[in-house]
Assembly symmetry: C2
DNA sequence: TATTTTCCTTGATATAGATCAAGAAATGGC
DNA sequence: GCCATTTCTTGATCTATATCAAGGAAAATA
């Protein structure tokens, strides 16, 4: 598969000149992950950052007592993760696990840093950081004010768009974790939504009532 | 008061050369805020970013239904806020309110952007963004796994250090909001902690049992 | 295909923290 | 120093969601 072509489809790299993209392509290292495979563990030493090309990866963090695992973010294709390695720390602060078969590019730290010398690239990079920050801010708000139902639709909207049919491609238990709910809670929620006709999850496909999204706050 | 001297004490600007700091000082605009004064509202048009010099400012966000107000972050002296304005949006995504008398510097957008041309400054700026991101990530984790008690001590540790006497200088209701609890809940928590001797909040001062911090997970 | 393992559902129960209410204390303005 | 307003406390009640448990479905493995 052509690395250059894939890069031109990512939010981060597409606005760059063809030349810059070529330079980036030369430093990228491809890696394929199987479902449930761990890319790196919280605390592991790291020498570079990653770009998710396809699939889905979850970043999680154990809490101090070590009992529960918290999903910090579920990474979507086109997103960069583990940027902390660039300046901040030489250890990954989270664990990255593929939720389904995924393809990532690895960019060695030093080579990536030299790319930042380019003005366009740098601005785009900063912009990406700000966007991510905004996402976290938003997530924080949602966690505090929303109930499970809101969280579910908020998640679906964010990740698949406000569509009537969605093929999530992840297990219910993983979705439950992503919206910070117990699997049982999600199960009960889905039952309730099915009963009142707003949503049906069947054969790996979610069907949402026509017009629902118009009434739901944000997409 | 001397802007230059104040700048050299902030995390962001102190590593810069004297010359860079002088340039920055020339574009900074001072502004004093009284307790409870609003600096800007969510949705307001913005033309620059802010640096908190002294005092304490809370960034909050209304939820869509508009009923509740969520504290996203309480800004500490030396921190920059409203950076989104630089590239992302021309509207502030949060509301900024001074919790006590505060001093801020305002940096007009265009002039600040030209500062980013300097390599040292830019790296420091990116580092700051990454730190903030890590903070939000941490906050997210804490919200999900911690109970109010943990949240209280986590907050105190983060904001004042793991000390035995702390002068918070903010109202209990504001502290309650910062740890996402109802004022009543904090009140009850404090009573419980007083009874078992771990913490006493009296005359605007918090006294924590000797050795407590050693047993408390993180500082 | 058979079998083991993982995932999902449903019920019963527990609980942290929110909300409502109303009096007490503190704070600020004049 | 006095009144008004804002905070703080304490009690009673409510609710969403977690947790525990156990049977059934689906998926992976042999």
């Amino acid at each position: 598969m052509n690395i250059l072509a894939l890069l031109s489809h990512t939010e981060l790299f597409s606005p760059l000149s063809e030349g810059s993209r070529e330079r980036i392509a030369t430093i990228a290292v491809e890696k394929t992950l199987k479902k449930n495979q761990t890319l790196f563990l919280e605390g592991d030493r790291g020498h570079g950052i990653y770009l998710l090309v396809s699939g889905n990866i979850q970043l999680s963090k154990a809490n101090p007592s070590g009992d529960r695992n918290v999903i910090i973010k579920s990474v979507k294709p086109g997103e960069i993760f583990a940027e902390v390695i660039l300046f901040e720390s030489d250890k990954y602060p989270v664990t990255a696990t593929a939720v389904k078969k995924s393809l990532v590019f690895f960019f060695p730290k030093n080579q990536f840093l030299s790319l930042l010398e380019s003005r366009d690239f740098r601005n785009e990079f900063i912009l990406m950081l700000l966007r991510k920050q905004r996402y976290l801010t938003e997530r924080l708000r949602s966690l505090i004010t929303m109930d499970v139902g809101d969280k579910l639709f908020h998640y679906l909207g964010q990740h698949y768009g406000a569509k009537e049919r969605i093929v999530p491609g992840i297990a219910k238990k993983d979705l439950a974790a992503a919206i910070d709910a117990a699997p049982e809670t999600l199960s009960r929620l889905l039952l309730r939504l099915k009963k009142n006709g707003t949503l049906l999850w069947k054969d790996g496909e979610i069907i949402i009532k026509r017009g629902f999204w118009d009434t739901f706050g944000q997409a």
